[in-house]
């Protein structure tokens, strides 16, 4: 009953959507891996970054793609300072406190955003928003192709940074052995703040890539974080490769779910995956054997 061409287009569209999911999930999993907490402020900070992209375009006319370096840099600095001034300081070195503080930060940001920006849906108009690329039977939106390629490139850059640079190695060292890290002279608190900043920088990138085809309201970050959390659980908590593979898988599942069950019910597939993973392989696809 299902035409193979439509199925092919569904899979491709899912992969393209998965690109941005990967970015959001990589940020979440990096923060989890190093700080050992779920960053509950993730959705709110994504929303803030999306507003930043929106206002850069509205007020100064900067194209969302051209805004990538500015918003990535700004998000990194914002995340770093947020950790240094608020999260790290108030947590007194206890992981469970960090969890509650990020939740509190999220509530504050959401409501301040509602107060300042109002509840209206804001969108960006770009000349390329309705451009399509034909690939076989599939008609793919150009902005989604750009966002997919850019997401994967950014993830590769981040992966190389974590694998090759001294700071990247220090981040991975702190993730598993904090005391050992202190004894080789790594400034562990600074690594925490850096990791948080990098996680938020991923959201900055995701915001730039989303805005040409998406909209922003003060609550638009949360939908992504629920998906990102599922991805992180699917890939294995704290696993970088898991978040990358999981993001693409979830993108395809959502797309096919929409195709088979209708647009409104597409997300059911994600929840089913979430429950199945918790039942069958709670450590996830790439979960660390602890």
């Amino acid at each position: 009953m299902l035409d193979p061409g439509i199925l092919f287009a569904g899979v491709l569209n899912g992969l393209l959507a998965g690109g941005v999911y990967v970015l959001v999930a990589v940020g979440l999993t990096l923060i989890y891996g190093v700080l050992h907490i779920i960053n509950f402020a993730h959705g709110s900070l994504l929303m803030l970054a999306m507003y930043a992209v929106f206002f850069l375009w509205r007020l100064t006319g900067v194209d969302p793609y051209a805004a990538l370096p500015i918003v990535i840099g700004g998000a990194f600095v914002f995340g770093y300072i947020l950790y240094r001034l608020v999260i790290g300081r108030l947590s007194h070195g206890r992981d469970e406190n960090i969890l509650l503080i990020t939740l509190g930060v999220s509530i504050v940001i959401d409501n301040v955003a509602l107060l300042i920006f109002g509840g209206d849906t804001q969108t960006i108009e770009t000349p390329y928003a309705s451009s399509f690329v034909e690939l076989g039977a599939a008609l793919l939106p150009l902005p989604k192709i750009i966002s997919f390629v850019a997401s994967l490139l950014l993830c590769i850059v981040l992966g190389l940074f974590l694998a090759r640079s001294d700071t990247g190695k220090a981040i991975r060292a702190v993730a598993r052995e904090r005391q050992g890290a202190r004894l080789v002279g790594i400034d562990v608190d600074n690594i925490f703040a850096l990791s948080y900043g990098i996680g938020i920088a991923c959201l900055g990138a995701a915001a730039c890539l989303l805005m040409p085809t998406y909209y922003v309201t003060p609550s638009s970050g949360h939908a992504f974080v629920l998906v990102a959390f599922t991805i992180v659980v699917l890939g294995g908590m704290g696993s970088f490769a898991g978040a990358a593979v999981g993001g693409l898988v979830i993108g395809v599942i959502e797309s096919l779910g929409g195709l088979l069950l209708g647009e409104q019910l597409g997300q059911i597939g994600i929840s089913v995956v979430f429950i199945l993973i918790l039942l069958l392989k709670p450590s996830g696809l790439f979960g660390a054997r602890q």
């Binding site: 001294d166 190695k169 991975r172 050992g180 890290a181 202190r182 004894l183 080789v184 002279g185």
Partner: protein, 233 residues
């Protein structure tokens, strides 16, 4: 090189070290002996800046480090090889060693890596392997190798023989003597009393947070109190 005077330290409000005096001179091996719970690890971790002391003075290389952060103590050249190794299990052997020169010794990283592999050929065979998959003895070598990568002026070895087979323990003590022969000052924290006294120049015995005995290692090895406490004689 290291001068500790009247050091009081502990965790939270519990005082474990109650006024410890200890000196390590340049080129010496000094053994710090004591049973479990005597406060050896507290002393180590306080000297290395992991915990703030309650009181007393710690001088290293003529500088007061009592309230310094662990990274500036590493920067100054005082490096600890901790009990339980504390290697980075998710990183390769090479990355573990390279992070040993994260704060200090970075310009000579390549040269020091060759030197450490020369000392521990086993590590050279496993450079790409994740440190968490090494055996206990190999992890101990890696922890010491990582410490050496930071070009220490004084190396604190905390229980390096713990969990090793008797043959490996022999090798470990021979290695410590060799490192010292190359000019490295060493504070050796051990439960293994007689073997430590055999290679140390001087020794301290820590009991209930205070120094109970101290002196040249050869004298302590003959001391009746020590023989009674640790050898049951």
């Amino acid at each position: 090189m290291l001068e500790i005077a009247g050091l009081r330290a502990g965790y939270g409000t519990v005082e474990i070290l109650r006024g410890v005096d200890l000196v390590v001179g340049k080129g010496e091996i000094v053994a710090l002996l004591g049973s479990n719970g005597a406060g050896k690890s507290t002393l180590n971790n306080t000297v290395c800046g992991l915990y703030r002391p309650f009181g007393g003075a710690v001088q290293f290389d003529g500088r007061n480090i009592a309230d310094a952060a662990s990274m500036s103590i590493v920067q100054a050249g005082l490096i600890q090889v901790p009990e339980g190794r504390r290697v980075f299990p998710n990183l390769s052997v090479r990355d573990n060693l390279e992070l040993g020169s994260y704060r200090r010794g970075k310009p000579a990283r390549r040269h020091n890596l060759d030197r450490v592999i020369g000392i521990f050929p086993r590590l050279g065979e496993r450079l790409q392997q994740a440190a968490g998959t090494l055996s206990g003895g190999e992890q101990q070598m890696l922890a010491i190798g990582r410490g050496l990568m930071g070009e220490p002026k004084l190396l604190i070895l905390d229980e390096p023989s713990l969990g090793l087979s008797p043959v490996l323990v022999e090798e470990m003590f021979a290695l410590i003597r060799r490192l010292n022969g190359d000019g490295l000052s060493i504070l050796l924290v051990e439960q293994n009393v007689m073997q430590s006294l055999a290679i140390a120049h001087r020794a301290y015995v820590l009991e209930n947070g205070q120094i109970a005995l101290s002196g040249p290692a050869a004298d302590l090895a003959q001391h009746p109190d020590l023989r009674r406490s640790y050898l049951g004689q």
